[in-house]
Symmetry: C2
Subunit: 415 residues, 2 copies
Amino acid sequence: MTNLNEMGQKAQKAEFQLSQLGTLDKNAALRKMADDLEKNAATILNANEKDLKAAQESDMSKAMQDRLLLDADRIKGMADGLRSIADQEDPIGKVDRGWTTEDNLDIIQQRVPLGVIGIIFEARPNVTVDAAGLCFKSGNAAFLRGGKEAINSNIALSDTLRASLKESGLDENAVQLLHDTSHETAQSMMELSDYLDVLIPRGSGKFIKMVVNKAKVPIIETGAGNCHIYVDESADQDKALKIIINAKVQRPSVCNAAEKVLVNENIAEEFLPKLAEELKKNKVEIRGDEKTKSILPDVIPATEEDWYTEYNDYIIGIKVVTGLDEAIEHINKYNTKHSESIITENYASARKFQKQIDAAVVYVNASTRFTDGGKFGFGAEIGISTQKLHARGPMGAHELTTTKYLVNGSGQIRE
Amino acid sequence: MTNLNEMGQKAQKAEFQLSQLGTLDKNAALRKMADDLEKNAATILNANEKDLKAAQESDMSKAMQDRLLLDADRIKGMADGLRSIADQEDPIGKVDRGWTTEDNLDIIQQRVPLGVIGIIFEARPNVTVDAAGLCFKSGNAAFLRGGKEAINSNIALSDTLRASLKESGLDENAVQLLHDTSHETAQSMMELSDYLDVLIPRGSGKFIKMVVNKAKVPIIETGAGNCHIYVDESADQDKALKIIINAKVQRPSVCNAAEKVLVNENIAEEFLPKLAEELKKNKVEIRGDEKTKSILPDVIPATEEDWYTEYNDYIIGIKVVTGLDEAIEHINKYNTKHSESIITENYASARKFQKQIDAAVVYVNASTRFTDGGKFGFGAEIGISTQKLHARGPMGAHELTTTKYLVNGSGQIRE
């Protein structure tokens, strides 16, 4: 079995060096990693072919095979991702706040790296590069464990990044990949609290839940999104239609896609037929509550379970509500605290919705699809946190940091 | 068995009301709670007497009995604690940052409550009041579980606070105490992730480790402090003596007391005899490395285990180091990432120590005893976090909050 403690020690050693590195040196190393990925494309594609062949032999679904696939374009995409991380602001060294205490001590709260970040993910090899890049920029060592389906690709990618680090004169152990993809080793990694400061699982909701249940290391939970759009009585209905269709069908498989629409009863008879027509054009199946069904007789009745479900598919749940209060109550009960939107032209409704909805991101008159590190301007993201501890919403390099208090005195002792 | 899910639902309901409450209303309720504690002193002391009697019968140590004891002064202390929490700034509603995205969306990142906070603690009844007060001020429902040794005191205290909330026209379930102190129920509470947003254990290091290992709810780890003071070659030795004695003996049982002193070899022969004399006056036992023993022949030899140990007692470990680099390496290896201090008059040494030491608080020329919510100016604290996730160092009301992104648009959809 892989010696995880040894990997952990190497990671901590590399992390110490990395935590002291200046921004220009980090950015130069990231740009070299990007170049080296492109130079090494043949080797990487060769390794990826082995994974694809094994995937075909094991009858992996086409969708999964597509996630696994690398080609020249996708390698360029990963390299450009690293370059855009290099272009981002360095979060390390930033001062959150500072003050002088009554004892005349000067306190500064400064951003420092988290330390060693474990990332445990399923079959997408691009996570190896994205995660390594974001961790590196924020001064953290990356301790990676990808799915066995992508192991050859992941080894080729991490070997390329490690060689690149070495050629930059840096400790290659700033990026380490577990080559052993057994479940036993994954379980041991989830318990490696002496070395890992945080563990971020990336993958399906089921996978993330499994990691959350088994881990002893502090976790940041990402991903689940049962997102709602509430159409207020005062909504601009054209805006509402465009936003709902965008949030549902622009990319239905992702966590910030809308899964439910709540409609104010005073506009339901006017609005729902228009919405049904647009959804039909886009091949979206509707599951409605009783009131919706009384207006749209063809819809499938929604069950209690539907209100909890993240479909990630061309399906949407619709409920007619008596007003804003019922909408807020319904959303706070059934949502996954990811992204929620109100469509309204009324100031008081907008304010109340934003104050009372408990979610990472609460929109007025915009599509939930904007909950994304890129769209927020973070350049890249390591995931979207749906927990409240440490980070909430899209997580960029800033969210991979913690703080340290620097306290400067002149001989103070406590009375 | 207590129905924890029902308590969880009540907590969430109370939390919703509390999250929407204005600062003046919260402060008025806190001041009323303080007054009601003092008014209800007889009932509280009566309940405490039952706990003390049981403690005497079970041969509890005198130190533990002292922690359990309440008297008029201590009740006034708890009440004044609530009043000082009322005087503090309200963290809710503060904006951390805001910007306009390339899609012309306005994003505001605003402070909101964490939600329902579980506190699991040992025998100190004052935690019931401190924790309830800090959670309340930061808009969080408190879900408390204290040790069985203090159950009568805790019930009297929480009943007083709950009655006070009710009289203020608020939901009394903003503060709930588990009356059932069985281990089974405690275990179920640690797994109550549907209702608890975070769990903070308070107590001995052993107790905290146990909770960290068993919990499924996100944890904030507090408390362990193996704190070091490094005396640099350029130190003002009088300052160094005063700071070391203060950090060691002003209150040896607490986590921010100094446990180890590292001394630069170039000043060891001059400094160590002076330090030994001061420590002897204060009845502190010295455990030294070989070089220390060569200068102070009477000291007990330190073992490898000593370097890891938090004594919380009149014992100190002393090691002579070749210089700053060895001091930093030693501290980063053995410390618990709590509080570390360098005594120096040299700018470069001070800067390097603060940049390279990995700890919540890194001091120059001050006692480690200042790592404390009160001394930091937070008014009160719920504990001192020694983990890196979410909060690091003293945790006041601000650290019991998370953020929500408010995104305002005008019909934006994602291309």
